[in-house]
Symmetry: D2
Subunit: 341 residues, 4 copies
């Protein structure tokens, strides 16, 4: 069956697998100390235009959020996120499990507004009882957001400005970062992200890797003994090579960007096809996730021929569903999908 | 350079990689719900002679220990382990990080003694202040141990008996389980382990996989909502297929056992060669890890030509080092190693 | 200076102190095992009309919330509370520190609505991704609320009904319970609370004691080894007598109820005096906390002669302040306060 | 019945209670911000000869250990303690509950040896795998120890020297500090403790107070936002006055020292009486806890007339019991006790 259910349905890009195969019998040291990890880090530093960046490879998104947030916060601090942020709803309480509150702000198509953030921070610090409350110690944003939307450079700059005024780090969850960077409608580049964010991660799991996320500390601010903290969270991979080789491949000859661009083009092609068919969109997403509104009966019918994600009920008769493309999406599949409308 | 440093220096067995390649473009559902995970579980149930076993795949050893122990203990309970147990010393405090004390017992070449365990438990329960102390809520053993040694069936049975009398689960860390099961000197089989232990894991990382451990709950005792608990620990892999396909391959045509047997034979070959050279052994290990005693100058000399693990200082002039074979060890490498003695 | 800042400005009711003095040199066993603790528990059971109730004395409100919630929730569960609930905002993240998320609902003058709760629970269980989310495992309400408001019996019954349908406990924070029970406008009695709630606490700190809260488990549902859990949270008092003697005194000859009634009468007297002066109330509170709206300049002026709590800014020119009475409030003080308006 | 079971059987010293009574109806601000807390802190600073000391009042011993240790350690650090340290065995895992391992050293009548500590630290730092282990981040000692023994100034100085070389704080649990300071055989004074320790607490619960411990940070090293950390642990008392007034009284006119001296004199009187009767001592304790060896039948007989603490079985026929004096012990009680031998 056709599937547009998510962007992690296939394994890895063929070049990634090929490289794992080629290097397979080399004897390498463990825990990320091998040469492929080093090479990958160097290539990522270049791509970020940030020669000082400190980089660490982890295995998945929730793990990365939990480890990074716990490592950077003081025990009495929480992380500020939009209500729809992945850390707020879909991580089974991993942040709270490590002792920290997620302080929520309103969301605008998944995005946080710099003014809301400013208000929260200024109100906290002017509240005479703030010592009895959780200190806002970090800001979490996702880019693209859970709704496929993107921050503009201006918006990022403002959020970053607020964070710096209040001396707390800005952290970007880049689970789908490639699909944001390669959007036709973005003015945000990897070096800009490295400039505005204190830490962010470049998602591999959803962009061509079997698994793996590259955490980038941009201001020489990697927490002391971070490897031990990672180990303590059960997040240190013995065969670190598995992550290093994958990212080394993804950041060779712009593979990460090329395959991301492909997914975006597929989404644009799908979007224009659906528009021609008169399909209503729930919101305007410039990345690989598209949200459309179907009558319930239409949805049911479609569900017999294609897989997608239920998103939310719009009203009694209508439902929002998500169609996701990825590095692996074929044009033919989209053509077949469009025929179903 | 020759390396006998550890059993996770190479990637994965070629058949494992080949299978990842073959299945790569199949669209599969996430989080371990795919058919390969199902198949792998079924094959493991067969191999364990335990049709009711509940199985969950995780990524690495420390992660598995942390998640399983935290999920099975009550908040006021700790886990009992030998002083040299991996959870006691080499997991950066992951068990304590999740809120539980590791209660330690003496070790005998890495093994726990059933009588020591019985004493600890009976003393705890007869201490009138025990409500002010950590409750011993689970027993952790590793098999093979960190010293390469093995429990006999009789010893396992005794430990299991004590645990059942006190109604606490027995948990076996099988990071190197294959190398224990294929030892020439063991009477312990996988079905026996499934009988005596309440939960154990079959190590993949050190036995032919890129990463991955298969946790086996043998008594229909998988904690309720275990997937959520795993997610909360940041340990749920999006592309669960990566683990499923690897274990499916390892448990097809006895691959796991064959490659484990190979490592044991390589260790036996190395041991007999070293004995002929008059090398002293620190202890008698029937598995893939061998511990020898070298004069410091010998050790230094050897270190120029071969990699190994420093284990501990024996006295001012002597050091214990570890030489590990694995599924990937070549006979020629051992011949070359032996020439260095 | 006059102070209506809070209800814990004085020490303890004179009878409580007298009793501490009388019993002072008796040698008693520790950790709550003394006869005064037993007596106090028995009297509380009587007052609750709940002969089976299990009771435990703790020292303060945040401590009680943290210990009770952590002890009753599974690790993957969170507690549902109104947005303004004490556990949501004013406990420095104590709930999250013990690993649990506070799931928030809208508040209506500090109260939670049974329909909102029903929606949250039914949406959670019908969400196909709920295994990736925090399970709602308990409901927290405060009575009186942080805004001095009260649930009616009907409202309590509905909340309790929803909880029972979803098989999760209903927990009432009764930091100011006496002031709720003795309100002129309530139909909720202590036995009703014991019937509808699975666990609640009777506040001592704010109602006549130096410190102390009595946790009441109403359904023989005190968590196993609760004393050990309390100890582990650093919440077990060596001289448990200090709590037992205080509660024994408060529950002798209805002292708890009489002094609570006094506070309510003082609040009513204050309210009627303020109304006569034309003061605007922010909301209608039938308990000891009264919230009034002042022009900023009025507030400043008042602040020179009397202490009160800043509550929140209403608009640019107006502020909401809280005036609290207590068991210790004197009528003369209110007369003097009223003269300032 | 006569009781020498522990040093917290009675309430508080009469002057402490009298002062609580005198100040009872004063309206004071909460959470330790009142004038009595300030006064008490000032008096303690004087007594410590440490004008810069930062002081915080908490309620009990386990709570204090948990909060102080958690607040001072990094997440990846553990605390080093003697095997018999209170934090190691009798706090229900409170330290682990807050995420930290207790790293144990051998004990010598309850004391830690500076050389053992030096070895642990130097071995840790020279272990090439130390990043996979728990970092020793703090040293915990109790003085008097759980066995009533005392460190000499020389021993303290050595421990302190090791800590400073490794840049980790030395923390002293002074639950019974008064009884140590007033021993006839000590050369350790409060100013010496303030010099050698980075943080310690002056026990109130066992030395004349209803409850309460005064934590003293001696090097301007109180963790930032300590009040919030305390609150988060559920350890912030609303009516902080209760602790402030008690310590203010105890540190007025040397009351703390005088009543401690009394307990020591009572212990000396008891010891000399028992020696005359030919009773065997388990060890030589210069403080208020005395450990004697009885034949089991003698112990049983004694148990009918006097309460004491069972300590441990010495052999099949003999048992070690503890007899504790306190500020409240009467000479007549000892005379009556001695008659029983």
């Amino acid at each position: 069956m056709l599937s547009f259910e998510c962007d992690y349905s296939e394994g890895a890009h063929e070049k990634v697998l090929a490289r794992l195969l080629e290097t397979n019998m080399e004897q390498l040291s463990g825990y990320g100390s091998d040469k492929y990890c080093e090479q990958a880090k160097e290539k990522i530093r270049m791509a970020c235009g940030c020669p000082d960046a400190q980089i660490f490879f982890l295995m998945g998104g929730t793990q990365t959020n939990e480890v990074v947030i716990d490592a950077m916060l003081q025990s009495y601090e929480g992380v500020v996120a939009a209500k729809t942020g992945h850390v707020s709803v879909h991580e089974a309480g991993a942040i709270e499990h490590s002792g920290h509150k997620v302080l929520t702000l309103p969301e605008y198509q998944g995005k946080m507004d710099a003014e809301d953030l400013e208000s929260l921070l200024s109100e906290f610090w002017s509240d005479e009882n703030h010592e009895h409350m959780v200190f806002p110690g970090m800001v979490y944003i996702s880019h693209p957001t859970e709704y496929g939307t993107l921050y503009s450079e201006e918006e990022l700059k403002k959020l970053s400005g607020v964070c710096r005024r209040y001396k707390i780090p800005l952290y970007m969850d880049g689970a789908r970062l490639g699909y944001g960077l390669m959007s036709s409608e973005t003015d945000v580049t990897l070096p800009k992200i490295a400039e505005y964010c204190d830490v962010f991660y470049i998602g591999g799991t959803k962009v061509g890797a079997l698994c793996g996320e590259a955490v980038v500390f941009t201001k020489r601010n990697m927490p002391v003994h971070f490897l031990t903290i990672v180990k303590q969270h059960g997040a240190l991979l013995a065969k670190g090579r598995v992550l290093g080789i994958q990212f080394d491949t993804l950041f060779t000859d712009d593979l990460y960007f090329k395959i991301s661009r492909h997914a975006v083009e597929m989404a644009e092609y799908m979007k224009s096809g659906l528009l021609k068919k008169g399909v209503r969109f729930y919101l305007e997403s410039p990345t690989n996730q598209q949200f459309i509104i179907l009558e319930n009966s239409e949805m049911e019918e479609l569900g017999k021929r294609a897989a997608f994600s239920f998103w939310e009920k719009l009203d009694e008769e209508h439902t929002v569903i998500r169609l996701a493309t990825s590095w692996a999406t074929k044009k033919e599949s989209i053509d077949r999908l469009l025929e179903l409308f």
